[in-house]
């Protein structure tokens, strides 16, 4: 059964990568088996901590995160010839993981609650923010907030908004790297990030208000 899944995953990998940037350069770099293994262990594996955390913040489930990360690493090994050694392995891996999640993983999800929840969030997040304004947080609003509340606020954002916050504010990717990972123009990265931060700050303010601190904030 596992082997069948593996074959299926590889067929889907071909489909996913066929429409992506990687396919254009998929035979560009020739590596011996020894070099492939070295690249895998020296350049890909050091990023497994942040890859796992990225997967967890997308799926909210430990088993799903493990499947997604394993799938990503196996695809990375299989398509290592599209990676130029010494370049930005982390961004390349993030791109594969993000594509796997969007194109493959979410389609297979049979859990209706997740889908319904996401749809509600998409709707909510689309209509409640003025793009021209910037939301500010007062120091006393956030200083008493605990990690769970901040995580919950982040996790409640729609996937597109959550992703740019993770990539920029937590992982420190540049706008250019984010544009490549997400397949969107840099201008869209900037506007999406601005909107995502406003949404997150609004949610943090709501949490703070419910908890009884930062009450003076409007």
């Amino acid at each position: 059964m596992k082997d069948l899944y593996w074959v299926q995953a590889m067929i889907e990998t071909n489909n996913v990568l066929a429409n992506s940037e990687e396919s254009n350069i998929s035979t560009k770099y020739e590596y011996s088996d020894q070099e492939k293994v070295r690249i895998f262990y020296d350049e890909f594996m050091p990023h497994i901590d942040s890859m796992y955390n990225f997967a967890y913040r997308l799926t909210f489930d430990e088993d799903d995160s493990k499947d997604l990360v394993q799938d990503t690493y196996l695809k990375a090994y299989r398509f290592v010839r599209s990676f130029q050694q010494g370049t930005n392995a982390k961004a390349w891996l993030y791109r594969i993981l993000k594509n796997s999640f969007i194109n493959d993983f979410r389609k297979k999800s049979k859990e209706p609650a997740k889908v319904d929840y996401q749809e509600v969030e998409n709707f909510y997040n689309s209509d409640d923010v003025d793009d021209n304004k910037t939301v500010d947080l007062r120091t006393d609003t956030v200083k008493d907030m605990i990690g769970d509340e901040v995580s919950n606020a982040l996790n409640s954002l729609a996937i597109d908004f959550r992703t740019v916050i993770i990539l920029c504010d937590l992982e420190g990717f540049t706008y250019e790297e984010m544009a490549k990972i997400l397949d969107i123009p840099i201008g869209t990265v900037r506007s999406r990030l601005h909107r995502a931060r406003n949404l997150l700050k609004e949610k943090l303010k709501s949490y703070a208000h419910e908890m009884g601190f930062g009450k003076s904030e409007n």
Binding site: Y52, L74, L137, L170
Partner: protein, 83 residues
Amino acid sequence: MALNKDEHSECEKFIELISLMLDNEASSEEEEYLAQHVDDSAPCLEKLESEKEYREMLKKKIGMKEVPVDLINAIKTKIKSLV
């Protein structure tokens, strides 16, 4: 801090620049331009501090989960079988 209309229009153009600078996306000229303005503008200084605090708070409050050892082992085993 509430801004009056003139202050708001004057400072509005710097708000995006503050984000760019903190994201390490501003040029050195832009950073210098912003630094000069912030010296004379309490609202923009406050905005800059607020944005710094937001970023520091996120990194501090959102912890990293530890990667399960069985995941690392499973990946290594799969790779060995492919070599």
